[in-house]
Symmetry: D2
């Protein structure tokens, strides 16, 4: 007989008349008490947020929900066109694209901030920022979370997130450091490169003590919400079929001409 392994989860369990989630009685302590963002906080920290954490964390998730007609939402719409009976498959397809290119910069920023050297006695964060920027320059790596290809110079979500961080007490060392890094990098490049929303979010993950690996998880759960909104719009004002047929026709025009 094969060996029986020991499996263990501490997230949730049930008896016929109770449901326990992260040690709380679900119906009485969570349901109707926590909002959806608080529940997400509970999932990633195993504890219920206080008022400031609730406000900040909800704002962070809200920032990540809706980015308009992104590749992910186009993917979800095109998938729904072929399998309208499987809304979950369309959302899943959309999430698959949330990889290194689009969601990577939040976790990149968080990782950079966590791995930044501690300021030594008497040294300030500006000195740390210089070390970080210099290291990225030497490695010819792009500094994550600063500047924006479209929102110039300032990503309009960034100052608002900073304001909420100040109101909730999350404007600590990491938030200051990302802004110092942005200053140093901007000065060296000779143009304004302020911390963008992903940079601020990365810093806020650090302020909350979340692992940098979980940043992508916040993006994934938030985008799942946004993708459902796009699928609903697709059922009312569809674009997927037209997009497919026009693209196919344009991309094969040269082949049909040759024939």
């Amino acid at each position: 007989m094969s060996k029986s392994e020991i499996y263990r989860t501490d997230i949730a369990s049930s008896t016929p008349d109770s449901i326990t989630v992260f040690g709380c009685d679900f119906p009485s302590e969570i349901l109707g008490t926590l909002n959806f963002g608080d529940m997400a906080f509970l999932e990633v920290t195993s504890r219920i947020p206080n008022e400031n954490e609730s406000r900040m964390f909800n704002a962070m998730l809200v920032t990540l929900v809706e980015h308009g007609l992104t590749p992910s939402t186009l993917v979800a719409r095109l998938t729904y066109l072929g399998a309208p009976e499987s809304l979950q498959g369309a959302v899943a397809a959309g999430l698959n694209g949330l990889g290194s290119v689009f969601v990577g910069s939040t976790e990149g920023a968080a990782r950079m901030l966590y791995e930044a050297p501690e300021p030594i006695e008497g040294e300030d964060l500006h000195e740390v920022a210089i070390q970080v920027v210099t290291a990225f320059e030497k490695g010819k790596r792009q500094i994550p979370g600063i500047g924006h290809p479209f929102h110039k110079p300032v990503d309009p979500r960034a100052p608002r997130l900073i304001q909420i961080a100040e109101e909730t007490g999350f404007d600590g060392r990491y938030l200051r450091l990302i802004r110092e890094i942005a200053d140093v990098a901007g000065t060296r490049k000779g143009r304004e490169l302020p911390a963008n929303a992903t940079g601020i979010l990365g810093a806020l993950c650090c302020e909350m003590g979340l692992e940098w690996k979980i940043c992508r998880g916040l993006g994934v759960m938030a985008r799942a919400v946004g993708i459902v909104g796009h699928l609903l719009e697709e059922t009312r004002t569809p674009i997927a079929r037209k997009l497919w047929l026009e693209t196919e026709a344009r991309a094969t025009e040269h082949l049909r001409k040759e024939e």
Copy 2:
């Protein structure tokens, strides 16, 4: 030249210094104002919820986040084992299983309630319930949203959801109808079959005027949150590798014996 189609989305757009989402200025009207559940409400209704809607809708989503070690969370964990660099792929894989078997009953309940006959002059909901139950019995179809294989007799989430519905004014016709249907069906079967959480949620979707098709969307967005929590636990107390190896060994024992 191929014809240019007209594409249109009304969800979001940007200029270099502004972001508009569902007609609202995102930084000033949404960010820091709406919680994550409100943002989800905005995605599925195109408007900002009032206080009662906010409380009810957040509770509905919270109900759907965490169901313990389900097939979906096992799928996410097993997928993460092979591709830890792609957290989004593990969540996507987990969502793919939210089909007719597990998430279908909420939308089934909503659909049943929407399609129930209007009570005619002088008739009450009990008469309507009898008609609905009779129709399901004739079609040999299972009535969605009542009874529970494990929580007997009462799904502990159901009374709490009803209480919140009463507090927020969502205890309308559809909520009464699912409970009448549960009563009628239970009486005929000779055992208690109260409306379960999915039945109540289906009724609440109807009370909010949401299309029955969007019920699955609520489940999908909520489970995305829960799956991220399970992946985080998997990084700390892994079970996927042990589960795979034990299952493989047990399932092929008969083949190796024959050799």
Copy 3:
């Protein structure tokens, strides 16, 4: 202690010095002996094909591999744009759209043919076809596998598949029936509606005794091959980023004008 369930797979097992797949010694009896299509046949029938089965089944799969710039291949390309480190996620996303709309007609045809009444004594397939077409007309359902929106009147793959079926002895009752059905339906509609490739493939699945449910599986495995080809082209002649940016710009033009 929880009960230990019995799990069983008969597909494959290993010892330190052997690998057994469907009862065959993998290195000596399968590897280098079976081609890729034969291996797929083994997966869906649990036995090695004879020469005729090999030729027919390989042709069936080859038919399903490449359909040009479909929604699925656009989805894979757009997903790869965001997560180039996860080729498997891009393929997975592409496969998610192979649902009822595009791949459904093969399984629909196979199911229709399996469920067609047996010809009674002295009756020929033409009579059966009339019954089938009449039943579909009464149910206001579209007959799967006949006619083609683009290839008019004849899907050029269909006559070739029929020819191979004749050469390999798979031109049996089901293949004749789909063609009779196409004739009857065409006559009633007053235009040519010959069996298309999906109709012929559905019939060939029946000739091979495959369950109608597995038809979709053939499409899925074949398209996985084609999607990889499209991803390779995307790395060389990318279209995803341009497609996203152009579509986003066109779809939000009206929103930016209003501002």
Copy 4:
């Protein structure tokens, strides 16, 4: 008006009476002529294989189809349990796990071989192998494609693949190099570490001139075939539900005891 981008695909196009795939007339030049593996070769090289290429490439794909009850096939089965109406979603979920851990070693081996230094005048491959192994040891990286945790000492697929390579003329520099690397590494470790199937496959991808990035693509297309086989078995001898319920019960036993 937004700018119209130029999109281009050279893979396939259609006219009402023709289908062209990679420049070939699909019905007459591909269908019934190429087997499924040849079609895959056409997808990744844009040309039809000769006889030796056909044999070798089909064998490579066949090697990757079936690995028994892997995490991927468990994922597909557990997903199918929740969404049996969406076979494509179950396959997609299964593919999502084919990431760095399980499929990475083939591409790792191919990359290592492509990036190995050219032997300089008079130097033989043994010298090159020493340089490669030394570089991996210095970087504390595991050498991909050699040794096997279970098949000891020899992966039974490896000698067979080498034999087919010899018969088809693909036993060139890269195949010799992976074996030299295995020898050098084994000698240094003091135990046999022969090239395993993934190492040989990586070398064969190099012999065929395929980019190392496409190795994962071969694994993905091949596993799609195998996963369909497992889903078919799941419909006949299901294990997913039992696996879920047993695992859930065992993993939450400690929580229920505490209550």
